[in-house]
C-alpha cells in the first residue's frame, strides 16, 4: 500500500496508503476529490475518464495512479484559464448547447483539448481520430464536432466557418 505524491492541475497532493493497482481515475475522484473526471466503463472503451498526462490524453481508468507520479495530471477542472475565463472549448460547448445528460462531456472536452493543443486547424478526419475513443450515449456528436470547429477557429484567430450557432 504505497504513499504517492501527484501533481494535479498544478497542485501537489499527498495520497496515503493506496493499493498499488489503483487506477488514476479513482485516486482523482476519491482521494484528490475532483469529481469532474467520470467513470463510464473501467475498460478504456468510453473515454469518460479522459485526463491529460503531460499534455497527452489518457484513459485514467486504465492508467495506474503510480505511473502518473512525476507527471503533470490535468483534469477538466484544470483546463479553464481561471474561474472567469473558460477554455475556448468550454465556451463553445456552452454556445452550441452540446450536452444532453452531460456525463460524457468532460471526457469529450479533454480529448478535444488535447487535439487542439497540437492542431488548431483540424480536418474532419483529425477530429474523428481524436474523438472516436469517446462515447456519447446521448449521441451529441453533431454538436461536439461543431463546437470543436468553433473553438479551433477562435484559437487560430479565424472566426469563419464555425458551423453556425448552437
Amino acid at each position: 500500500m504505497p504513499d504517492i505524491q501527484l501533481e494535479v492541475n498544478g497542485r501537489n497532493y499527498d495520497i496515503k496508503d493506496i493499493a498499488a493497482d489503483t487506477p488514476l481515475l479513482w485516486v482523482i475522484r476519491d482521494h484528490v476529490g475532483l469529481v469532474g473526471t467520470k467513470y463510464g466503463c473501467g475498460g478504456g472503451y468510453c473515454g469518460a475518464c479522459t485526463v491529460h498526462l503531460d499534455g497527452n490524453p489518457v484513459r485514467s481508468c486504465s492508467v495506474l495512479a503510480t505511473s502518473a507520479v512525476g507527471k503533470k495530471v490535468t483534469t477538466i477542472e484544470g483546463v479553464a484559464v481561471d474561474d472567469n475565463v473558460l477554455h475556448p472549448l468550454q465556451e463553445a460547448w456552452i454556445e452550441h448547447d452540446v450536452p444532453q445528460c452531460g456525463y460524457c462531456q468532460a471526457g469529450q472536452i479533454m480529448s478535444a483539448a488535447a487535439l487542439l493543443s497540437k492542431n488548431t486547424n483540424p480536418t474532419d478526419s483529425d477530429i474523428d481520430a481524436a474523438m472516436s475513443g469517446n462515447l456519447c450515449r446521448c449521441a451529441t456528436y453533431i454538436r461536439i464536432r461543431r463546437a470543436i470547429r468553433t473553438a479551433a477557429a477562435k484559437i487560430s484567430g479565424n472566426t469563419m466557418g464555425t458551423g453556425g450557432s448552437v
Partner: protein, 748 residues
C-alpha cells in the same frame, strides 16, 4: 468489520476537498425549508427565512411567490425545476415556461432542483416523455401568478390600475406615466399581495411568446463543462464508505456460500456480508456487499469474490431458444385474439395479392453512461438518499418498504442523472444502497461497475411479428394481420415493454384487421426502453408497410397518406391521441425536405417511415448508400416532427438528433444475447454504441402548432429504424427483417 469511528468520520470530513460540494448540507436545508411550507397542497405567498442556506441566503430579501418562483431583491429570480434531469433538457425547458409567463429576463434566472415532494409539486418523475406536458398548465400558472402579484404591487405603489401595467424583462411598466420598476425593487411589496385566483389568470398566447421557441443553452452547462459536482456519482457525504454489490449472473439466484473471510482480509476492505433481499428484481435481489475505504478497493475486491450460487430458482433463459420457439409459434397458428374486425380471411381469399413477412428484434440494454450508483445513509429509523433516478418518489417508497420504515422518513435528493433511457425508472440500486447502509451503520456510496450494469438491466424485450397484408385490385391495402410473439411475465400478461395495443397502427385505418398474440415464457427482467413498445414495433410495422406499398406498385408516401385519410383525431377529445392531419403534414414535410422521389445514383436510396408515439407525430427519411460489401454510408437522416409548440429549439433539436443516432446505433449493431440465463455482453466492446466518426448528419424540422406541447425524449426514435431499413432496400434490394444489421453482414 473495522468499525468506522467518530474520529474516522471527522478525518474524512477534513479530507474532503473544498472542490467537492457537500450535497447533504445544502440539500437538507432546502428540503426542510420547502417541506415546511407543505401540508395542504399548493401554498402560495409564503416567505422563507433561512439565512443559513445558500439558496435562501438573506431570505428577508426574497419574495417567494410559490413553490416554483422566488424573486430576490438583488435581482436574481430563482425558478425550481421539479422533475429529474436525465438529459431530456427538462431543467431548462420547464423554467423557460415559467419565465415566459413571469416575463422574467432569462439572464436573471437561476434554476434550482426542487426537493421531492409530490404533494406539493405533483408528478416528479421522468418517463414517457410526460414531464413537460403534465407540468404545462401548473408552471404557466405559477409564473403568471407571481407576475400578477408583482404587477399589483407596482400598481398600488403608483396608484394606477393594474390593468394599465405591462411587464417585460423582469420589470413592470406603466407607459402612460412613463414609469418602470424592476421586479427586484417590487419583491418585498409583492410578497404582501394576495395570491390571485389561478383559474382566472390570463395566460399568454403562442404569438405573444418572447422566450419560448428560442435556442437556450442548458442551465447546468457551465457546471458540466467545468467538471463541477452535479451527478449522482458525485455525491459525497462526510464519513461515507464505498460499497460494491455482487448478484447472481442469472437473475433469481441466491448466495449459498462465498469466500467472505478472504475478502474481508483484503487491503482497504472493511466488511463483506450477504444480503438476502426480497427477491423483487426492481428492489432488492440477493447478493454480497463489500464495504471498503475507496471505490477501487470495493470494486476490485468484488472481482475476487468466489461465490457458490444457488441457481435452483434462477432463470435459464436463452435467446436462441426463444428465436426457435417464436418461429415455431408463428408457423403453428395465430395465438390468442387481441382484435378482429371485418372479415380478414375473406379479404385475403379474394385479394389481388397477399404478402407476408416475419420480423424480429433483439433484447437491448439501456447502458446509460453513468453506471448505477446511490449514496445512502440509514440511521435512527431514517434514510437519506442521493441518487440519479428517474422516479425519486417511487424510490423512497421502495426504500421505506425494504427498511420497514415510514415513507416520510426517507428523503431522496435528486441529483443530475447521467442518462436514463428508462433504466432509472427502476430503483434497484437505490434499494441496495439503503440496505447496505442499514447493515453497515455508516453512510455508503454504492457503485456499480459497467459489468454490473450490463448484467443486471431491465432489458428492452425482443419481439417477433408474423405480418400479412392483402392488396386489392386498386392497389389498396384491404386486410392486415399481425401475429405478435412476445414474452409472458409472472402475472400471465406480457412482460414490461413487451405488450402491444390491439389498436396498434395501422389497424384503426382498415375495416378488416386482426391482431393476435402468443406469449413465450421468460424470466429475464425487462422494462421500458426509450419509447417503449414503439421502439420495436415501429421497425416491423413501418418496414412492412413499405414492403406492401412496393408489392402494390405504389409510392410509399402516397400509400401512407391514402391510409391516413381525412384529417381527424383518432380519439375525439383526447389531445394526446394521434391526429391524421398532423401525421400527414409531417410525412409530407419529411418527404419534401429529403427530396423524396428524386433520382439517385445506383447503390443509393431513400427510405421513409412514420410513427406516432408519446403524443408526438414523427416522419423520417434516411438517405443511405450501400456498397457491394454491404458497407453503409448514411448520407443524411431527415426528421419532421410535430409536438405542438417548441419550448427550447436548441434542446428540441438535440433530442431529435440524439434519438435518431441512438436508433441508428441500435439498428446497426446492438443486441443483448442471453444464454443459460446469463447476459453475454459485458462492456462496451461487446455493446458497440455508435461513435462520432460514424455519426451522420441529422436535419430536424418542426411543425409548430397551438396544441399543448408534448415531450421529445422518445417519439423521434421509433421511425428511424424502419426508415433506415427501407433505405437499405431502396439502395440495395436487400430487405432486412431481423435486427441488428451487423448480424446480416452490414457495417458502417
Amino acid at each position: 468489520m473495522n468499525q468506522t469511528t467518530a474520529q474516522d468520520i471527522i478525518n474524512e470530513m477534513e479530507n474532503i476537498s473544498a472542490g467537492v460540494l457537500d450535497l447533504r448540507v445544502v440539500d437538507r436545508r432546502t428540503f426542510l425549508k420547502l417541506t415546511g411550507i407543505t401540508g395542504t397542497g399548493l401554498v402560495l405567498g409564503y416567505t422563507i427565512r433561512d439565512a443559513a442556506s445558500p439558496v435562501y441566503a438573506a431570505a428577508d430579501n426574497q419574495f417567494t411567490a410559490n413553490e416554483f418562483v422566488r424573486v430576490a431583491t438583488d435581482g436574481k429570480i430563482y425558478l425550481y425545476s421539479k422533475n429529474p434531469e436525465v438529459g431530456q433538457g427538462i431543467k431548462t425547458a420547464v423554467p423557460m415556461v415559467i419565465a415566459e409567463e413571469l416575463d422574467a429576463d432569462w439572464a436573471d434566472v437561476i434554476v434550482e432542483q426542487a426537493p421531492i415532494n409530490e404533494e406539493l409539486y405533483g408528478r416528479q418523475s421522468a418517463g414517457g416523455s410526460r414531464s413537460l406536458t403534465t407540468a404545462w398548465d401548473q408552471v404557466r400558472k405559477a409564473g403568471a401568478s407571481a407576475r400578477a402579484m408583482l404587477i399589483s404591487a407596482a400598481a398600488k405603489e403608483w396608484g394606477v390600475p393594474a390593468s394599465e401595467c405591462r411587464t417585460e424583462a423582469s420589470s413592470v411598466f406603466h407607459d402612460a406615466s412613463n414609469r418602470r420598476a424592476g421586479y427586484a425593487s417590487l419583491a418585498m411589496k409583492a410578497a404582501e399581495e394576495p395570491v390571485p385566483d389561478l383559474d382566472s389568470l390570463p395566460l399568454k398566447k403562442r404569438s405573444e411568446y418572447k422566450l419560448l421557441g428560442k435556442r437556450i443553452t442548458g442551465v447546468d452547462n457551465r457546471k458540466i463543462v467545468t467538471g463541477q459536482p452535479l451527478f449522482g456519482i458525485d455525491a459525497v457525504v462526510p464519513g461515507m464508505r464505498y460499497a460494491s454489490y455482487l448478484k447472481c449472473p442469472a437473475a433469481g439466484g441466491s448466495v449459498r456460500s462465498a469466500n467472505l473471510d478472504e475478502i474481508k482480509a483484503l487491503p482497504g476492505v472493511e466488511d463483506a456480508f450477504v444480503i438476502e433481499g426480497n427477491n423483487e428484481p426492481t428492489e432488492l435481489m440477493p447478493g454480497i456487499a463489500i464495504i471498503a475505504n475507496s471505490t477501487w478497493a470495493a470494486i476490485s475486491a468484488k472481482d475476487k469474490l468466489k461465490v457458490d450460487w444457488d441457481e435452483t430458482h434462477a432463470t435459464r433463459a436463452s435467446w436462441s431458444d426463444a428465436q426457435k420457439n417464436a418461429k415455431d409459434a408463428a408457423s403453428k397458428g395465430q395465438g390468442e385474439m387481441l382484435h378482429d374486425i371485418g372479415n380478414v380471411d375473406e379479404k385475403f381469399a379474394e385479394a389481388e395479392k397477399s404478402f407476408e413477412a416475419y420480423y424480429e428484434y433483439p433484447f437491448l440494454s439501456h447502458a446509460p453512461l453513468e453506471p448505477q450508483n446511490t449514496t445512502a445513509w440509514v440511521h435512527d429509523g431514517k434514510a437519506e438518499i442521493w441518487s440519479p433516478t428517474q422516479r425519486p418518489a417511487q424510490g423512497a417508497a421502495s426504500v421505506a418498504g425494504i427498511l420497514g420504515i415510514d415513507e416520510k422518513d426517507v428523503e431522496v435528493h435528486q441529483l443530475r442523472v447521467g442518462g436514463g433511457f428508462g433504466r432509472r425508472l427502476m430503483n434497484d440500486y437505490m434499494c441496495e444502497a439503503a440496505a447496505i447502509s442499514e447493515r453497515a451503520g455508516v453512510p455508503v456510496k454504492l457503485q456499480w461497475t459497467r459489468e454490473d450494469d450490463m448484467a443486471h438491466d431491465f432489458y428492452r424485450v425482443g419481439g417477433f411479428h408474423a405480418l400479412k397484408g392483402a392488396i386489392d385490385k386498386e392497389g389498396k391495402l384491404s386486410a392486415w394481420q399481425d401475429h405478435f410473439i412476445t414474452f409472458m411475465g409472472p402475472n400471465k400478461k406480457p412482460v414490461s415493454g413487451g405488450d402491444m395495443r390491439a389498436s396498434e397502427f395501422p389497424v384503426d385505418f382498415f375495416p378488416n384487421t386482426r391482431v393476435t398474440q402468443t406469449m413465450l415464457p421468460l424470466r429475464v427482467p425487462t422494462g421500458p426502453w426509450r419509447s417503449p413498445r414503439s421502439c420495436g414495433i415501429a421497425f416491423a410495422v413501418q418496414s412492412f408497410i413499405s414492403e406492401l406499398a412496393l408489392e402494390a406498385g405504389r409510392d410509399h408516401v402516397e400509400f401512407l397518406l391514402e391510409m391516413l385519410g381525412e384529417p381527424r383525431w383518432l380519439e375525439e377529445g383526447n389531445i394526446d391521441a394521434m391526429n391524421t392531419g398532423r401525421a400527414a403534414r409531417v410525412i409530407k414535410l419529411a418527404a419534401e425536405k429529403a427530396g423524396w422521389g428524386k433520382s439517385m445514383e445506383k447503390g443509393r436510396g431513400l427510405g421513409l417511415a412514420f410513427h406516432f408515439s408519446h403524443a408526438g407525430h414523427f416522419a423520417e427519411v434516411a438517405d443511405i448508400s450501400v456498397d457491394d460489401n454491404k458497407k453503409l454510408t448514411i448520407n443524411k437522416i431527415t426528421v419532421a416532427g410535430d409536438v405542438g409548440p417548441i419550448i427550447n429549439l436548441s434542446g428540441a433539436e438535440n433530442q431529435c438528433q440524439g434519438a435518431v443516432i441512438d436508433a441508428l446505433s441500435t439498428t446497426l449493431g446492438l443486441q443483448v444475447s442471453i444464454e443459460n440465463g446469463r447476459i453475454q455482453e459485458t462492456n462496451f466492446h461487446q455493446y458497440p454504441i455508435l461513435r462520432m466518426d460514424k455519426a451522420p448528419d441529422v436535419a430536424v424540422h418542426f411543425i409548430e402548432s397551438d396544441a399543448r406541447p408534448t415531450g421529445l425524449g422518445e417519439p423521434a426514435l421509433p421511425p428511424a429504424a424502419p426508415a433506415i431499413c427501407n433505405a437499405i432496400y431502396a439502395a440495395s434490394g436487400i430487405r432486412v427483417r431481423e435486427l441488428p444489421l451487423t448480424r446480416h453482414g452490414f457495417s458502417v
